[in-house]
Point group: C2
Chain length 313, copies 2
């Protein structure tokens, strides 16, 4: 009880807004982030428990959680407004948490010459930075995998409803990179993993986004492959994908202008298939681009994919 | 053939973008609007005919159309990005057209003192203005009921797919007012009518939005009731609602801050029920507000409601 109060003092969570949508509630919450040394804002959708929904075994009235990591330039509002996730979350009885894509409000960092749409604000890349200036302020891996959960547990209206022992992870583009790498770096933490058009091989020379971000955030080039989903899988013992997670799903639009110039999802697919045959489902979707029009079309499939894993024993 | 070419020259339609979403195509189109004497932009969603969908009788391969009228401050992008309409449109084989809410780009009008968020740009109220300054430039009733259809017919990729003889109309807030009044003023044109939180009695003293708009756009106060859904129904002969349209659906959130201060949907319901008992379905939705969170929750119901009327013989 005193721990909980300590965390309330530490994080100072403030509910900015609550709105009813698809028979559930969408909260936007601002809080202090000790790991990023700034205030952060995230959103969480919680289906109402007044309706009937599957609650899984054991934790009656507590629902599992999908962590959604957004892409470059986004915050929580892009996916909450355009992602088309909540109807399926409500039908499945699954919560959906949407963190920001970087720390914000570090004046000195925000004004640096290197700051741009694909580096710095809105582009945290879900790594803990090790370079000067960023190491103390850009710790999005810790934030996404640990601190955000602690913040959620310190807020009664979330802690009362969410079973944090059942989590899955997904993301789009930079957030797809985040979902794949954070799952691979935290084996067993996420029951299932999915991505829309992920940056799947960011340390490769033909991935300018990854090159720029890793150069800026990671001091030693030897660290790069530890944050590259394709390289991480290549390092694993054969047949060990099942120790990481139960299933992986990736969707990629073939009209996505970044498909062959930045993302390279087939490299991850090939490495994963080589490790454990038939472990991942990879779909190339004809005519779809890199936008939320693509995501909103297949979001139902992804949420349902996770729900099946999260609701089974 | 020459008529068609004339209209192409007249409207000069330009497809600004086409994106694939829910196995269909969303086009954004800019064109010259003779009735508003400015360029206008609208969007239209057309399900792909490569998939199986109901095509109704007669017009094989041509799909019916829902006209969606947006609320104050909006343009086509609010409902296209946040409205959650296209999945159900695709499942039903129904097109969805989204006009702007006012003319734009009339410098003199746009700079007037009276211009504000609820008058002028983004607030055309779907009437043909009769006041000085606006009469020549603000003709949104003609635009929504006639000109937009002519523009669509002049564009091959729309004309080839849409059966303009089967249309329904719907809208939100100011657009709900538009849907109800345009249907009542054009009996038989729209097979079904629906609205989210409509401004249902705009000429009433306790509707500040309507008072401001009608004062600004309509020269003679006697014109007001001809653009007020509740007043229009009161003027109709008893039992004649079925000559207007086949069915009406209204949804209203009870946490909508404008519910009792601007909208007054029950006044329309009462008048409609008095005219033809059981003709309209009216739902008060507990806990929902005036936003697109509310609309996205019940959009499926509305699109399906229209589809049933549009696809039946």
């Amino acid at each position: 009880m005193s721990d909980e109060n300590d965390e309330k003092v530490l994080f100072k969570p403030e509910i900015l807004s609550t709105v009813k949508v698809h028979a559930g509630y969408l909260h936007r919450i601002k809080h202090y982030s000790p790991c990023n040394k700034c205030h952060m804002t995230f959103a969480i959708y919680i289906p109402s428990d007044e309706d009937d929904f599957p609650v899984g075994n054991g934790n009656a009235r507590k629902m599992p959680l999908i962590l959604y990591l957004s892409g470059l330039t986004c915050d929580d509002t892009n996916v909450s407004q355009k992602g088309n996730a909540f109807e399926t979350c409500k039908q499945s009885g699954v919560c959906f948490v949407m963190p920001d894509t970087s720390p914000r409000g570090h004046e000195k960092i925000d004004e640096e010459e290197s700051a741009s749409w694909d580096f710095g604000i809105g582009a945290g890349f879900y790594v803990n930075a090790t370079t000067k200036g960023y190491a103390e302020h850009y710790n999005m891996e810790t934030y996404a995998t640990k601190e955000l959960e602690q913040v959620c547990k310190s807020i009664d209206c979330i802690n009362d409803k969410v079973d944090f022992n059942r989590q899955s992870i997904m993301g789009h583009s930079m957030g797809g990179h985040g979902a794949l790498t954070l799952a691979l770096r935290n084996p067993g933490k996420y029951r299932s993993v999915s991505a829309f058009a992920p940056i799947a091989n960011p340390s490769a020379k033909d991935c300018p986004w990854g090159q720029k971000a890793f150069k800026g955030y990671l001091k030693d080039e030897n660290e790069w492959k530890m944050h590259d989903a394709t390289e991480l899988v290549k390092m694993m013992e054969p047949g060990t994908m099942k120790t990481v997670t139960k299933a992986i799903l990736i969707d990629q639009g073939d009209a996505d202008t970044f498909y062959k110039t930045q993302l390279h999802p087939e490299r991850f697919q090939e490495a994963a298939e080589k490790n454990t045959k038939g472990f991942m489902k990879y779909n190339v979707r004809e005519g779809y681009d890199h936008s939320y029009w693509f995501i909103s079309t297949f979001m139902h499939d992804h949420v349902a994919f996770h729900a099946i894993k999260l609701l089974s024993t």
